[in-house]
Point group: C2
Chain length 110, copies 2
DNA sequence: ATAGTTTATCGCAAATATACGATTGAATAT
DNA sequence: ATATTCAATCGTATATTTGCGATAAACTAT
């Protein structure tokens, strides 16, 4: 992390950027949608729906876990995933706040 | 783009991912905030505020332009930037829709 | 005309991200 | 006991991102 200067930005800026980064790949958007479809945990079927190899999907799931957008539990040999609603709400708030701020000034230019 | 399989995902998924990607770096979040601060175009002062070299900021601006989150006009030797409100609103809608869908199911799991 | 500003672009280096197959480890079924 | 299934991780290849300095192009001021 020597060349990347993320430390030099504010916490809020990094928080929004990190969240955006988590959903900045269509596969991860699709995974979130797929998990959200169900009321209960989803075990495994994600791979069948996506046009990606099992190992690749596993990597994307790992990223979503890192961003705390989903939770994962082990059920025997299977792994089950759920949306982490708290994080979703928190980031919904953060991004809405950002856009509200961004929108508060009237466009008097361009 | 042989290894990246973005074509295999839906338009909506890609649209949200692309937008998220545009704000997935704290520098770009900071730039948007800085531009949004003013009512009129902002020319140049962005570089002074950010902890990055001029060429790097220019690259980030280029990405924001590509995502149509900002517009740029030339004013003599200077370049002036504004928020593209239409795009901001469109993507605000897209992401809210996504989260609403994601939120509509009650968490009966995990 | 000349020197200084401003900003985009080029060329490069280093770091990250994306993707896959192969392997591993653990649980399950036969 | 053995084979099978499931999913994480490892190793690897390739592409993209991030960052900077140097340069170029275009305007501005002297």
């Amino acid at each position: 992390m020597s060349i990347h200067k993320k430390d030099e930005f504010s916490k809020k800026e990094n928080e929004l950027a990190d969240f955006a980064n988590a959903i900045s790949h269509p596969a991860r958007v699709a995974i979130l949608k797929e998990i959200a479809k169900r009321e209960t945990c989803i075990c495994g079927e994600i791979v069948e729906v996506l046009p990606l190899a099992q190992s690749t999907v596993s990597q994307h799931l790992k990223e979503l876990l890192k961003a705390e957008l989903i939770t994962g539990t082990v059920d025997g040999a299977k792994s089950c995933y759920c949306i982490n609603w708290k994080t979703v709400e928190r980031f919904e708030k953060t991004s809405n706040e950002f856009f509200k701020k961004t929108n508060s000034n009237n466009p008097k230019c361009c």
